[in-house]
Amino acid sequence: MKSKLILSTVAAMMLSSVAAQADTLRLLTWGGYAPEDVIAKFEEQTGHTVEVTKSNNEEMIAKLRATNGGGFDLAQPSQDRIAGPQAEFGIYKPLDMSKIDTALFIPSMLEATKGNTTVDGEVYAVPHVWGTSGLVVNTAEAGDVKDYTDLCNDSVAGKVSYRLKRPTLIGFAYAMGLDPFAAYGDEAAYKDIIDQVEAKLVECKANVKTYWDGGDELKNLLRSGEVVAAMAWDTGGWQLNDDNADIIFVAPASGALGWIDTFVLPARGRADDAAYDWINFVMQPEIAAMITASAGNFTASKGGDANVDDALKAKYQASFPQEAIDNIKWYPSVPAGLEALEGAALDRINAAN
């Protein structure tokens, strides 16, 4: 009787140790970054199970802050939103680079991301998906929109949309000939820039139909023709181009804004091994191509663009001739505290008549 009990206990322990290796990976990510077919393949190969929560930059940070970095095992904020929140709230934990197969990454992008996300000598993030935001224009009706400030032209009055978020402030600043990224370290100079942009956006408000919030909302506005020019992500423009050949993504004259979404480990994540497995799995070129097909954006996987379908490549090349690529403004890390400045400006723009 007793030996039976011991046996079954041992059996149960063995079972649970197997179970410990096959973890549940709770992934906090963007829509399209973890498509069903990729998850199915990953679960089949590793035995882990994946739970996906779709979110955006601000919500990811707010969620992790609410739990002090718990509740998720892997998150994907943009590379400029890591050092600041880490210094302020301590919601991430350093990466163990020895567990990541760095040969899978495009070296320049990996180095840039590591550099931007290093806090106190520890690396917190590696790159995953990158893209830009610029202008989506219906060329049949708003062919003259070439830069962010053109959204304030009389010719497109009432038919314009952008987000009331920080990329809009940055984009307008560059289009007005200012250099906000250079002023990141100098709060007074940065405030001066934001004040000028605020005045411009308040003046421009009459031109705006509505401030968009989600990608689907914007696509609806452009598809129905209610909006003819908008500040948006490149993929949104490329997807709309499939439905209406007049709608294209334009890299603005002052430069598209480049973002890189990354992999970070939340401070109190429980399945680090599964997280590293996921990173190494999705950075393989053929898997990266599947994610590009689903998200519409290219990845930092070396050779990942080789398997991407030609239609997307053609759209990418049409929007980005070489000089436009060289002109992309990559977001540097946001210093802690600047967001309060921007927030107050955005509130005042929202309240203006």
């Binding site: 601000e58 919500e59 940070i61 707010a62 802050r65 929140p85 210094a87 302020e88 709230f89 301590g90 009432g158 978020k165 408000k205 705006v208 139909k209 509505t210 401030y211 919030d213 129905s224 023709g225 209610e226 802690a336 505290g337 967001e339 309060a340 927030g343 955005l346 509130d347 005042r348 929202n350 309240a351 008549n353």
Partner: protein
């Protein structure tokens, strides 16, 4: 012994309510209050002060947003009462049996879908390429597309629509309890319809009116979806500000302070409303 058992039963029955109140209402509010007293002085450095509350009174933007939200909510409440009262009177006094149930059910049906779906329904109707705009063009009443979304009138429509039920239900209940013979007596004594409404119906329905108004006002003031979605670029609403502070600015300290100010100021408005209508909260709640 029997006394002890009765006491135990009482506490056990009360326990779910107490746990609910304590864990979901009292504790979070305490936590939020403590957060609202923290003033951020540097990275991970905080001091205890009322600075976050001072921000609200020193920055006209926030103060104005609250005033606008309160003003719009009061207007929405008045409109809801104005539209809801005849409906409630009709249901309570002029219909019987199955018709009554059917009409009551029709007020309820919109609430079978979520608020989000209802708001999207309004967006489909009101937008420039939407149903109403197209019908007007088809009838030749307007030359080009008309935009009816993204303004205060759209917000108001949405708010009234969302809160109609909460006005009609208490009104029907109080009007139901009004004895028809009182109205007949009024007519017998030669009063006009308006005099009967003013002297008999409204005084009797007052508790229903007040409780309906409180619920509708609070719902409108605390609404987030309707003003944001229907208001577009002019959708300044106090709850939206709180959301922004918490989610997009990571400024929980200011967000918490705003939350408490909303709680305090809205309670104050309700208190003033009760005083003006000479009703007490206890009496109102007991009669509806």
């Amino acid at each position: 012994m029997a006394n002890d058992r009765a006491k135990l039963t009482f506490w056990l029955l009360l326990a779910p309510l107490m746990i609910w109140l304590l864990t979901l209402i009292v504790l979070p509010h305490l936590g939020m209050f403590l957060v609202s007293l923290r003033e951020k002085v540097g990275v991970r450095e905080y001091e205890t002060s009322f600075a976050n509350y001072a921000v609200f009174f020193n920055e006209p933007l926030y103060w104005n947003t609250f005033a606008r939200t309160a003003y719009m909510s009061v207007t929405a409440t008045a409109l809801t009462l104005f539209i809801g009262f005849p409906i409630a009177y009709y249901i309570a006094k002029l219909t019987r049996g199955r018709t009554k149930t059917t009409l009551f059910l029709m007020c309820l049906i919109p609430f079978w879908v979520s608020e989000l779906v209802r708001t999207f329904g309004w967006m489909i109707l009101l937008r420039e390429t939407g149903v109403i705009s197209n019908v007007l063009q088809y009838l030749g009443l307007v030359g080009g597309p008309v935009e009816m979304l993204y303004n205060d009138a759209a917000i108001m429509t949405g708010l009234v629509y969302t809160s109609m039920l909460f006005m009609v239900v208490p009104l029907v209940t109080t009007l139901d309890s009004l004895d028809d013979s009182l109205i007949e007596a009024g007519y017998d004594l030669g009063a006009s319809g308006f005099a009967i409404l003013r002297e008999i119906v409204i005084p009797h329905a007052m508790p229903g009116i007040v409780s309906g108004c409180i619920v509708v006002f609070m719902l409108s003031l605390g609404n987030y979806l309707t003003p944001i979605l229907l208001g577009g670029k002019d959708s300044l609403w106090f709850t939206g500000l709180i959301y922004n502070q918490f989610i997009t600015r990571f400024n929980w300290e200011l967000g918490s302070a705003f939350g408490f100010l909303l709680l305090g100021l809205s309670s104050l408005i309700v208190f003033v409303g009760l005083k003006l209508s000479r009703q007490s909260l206890g009496k109102t709640m007991a009669q509806t």
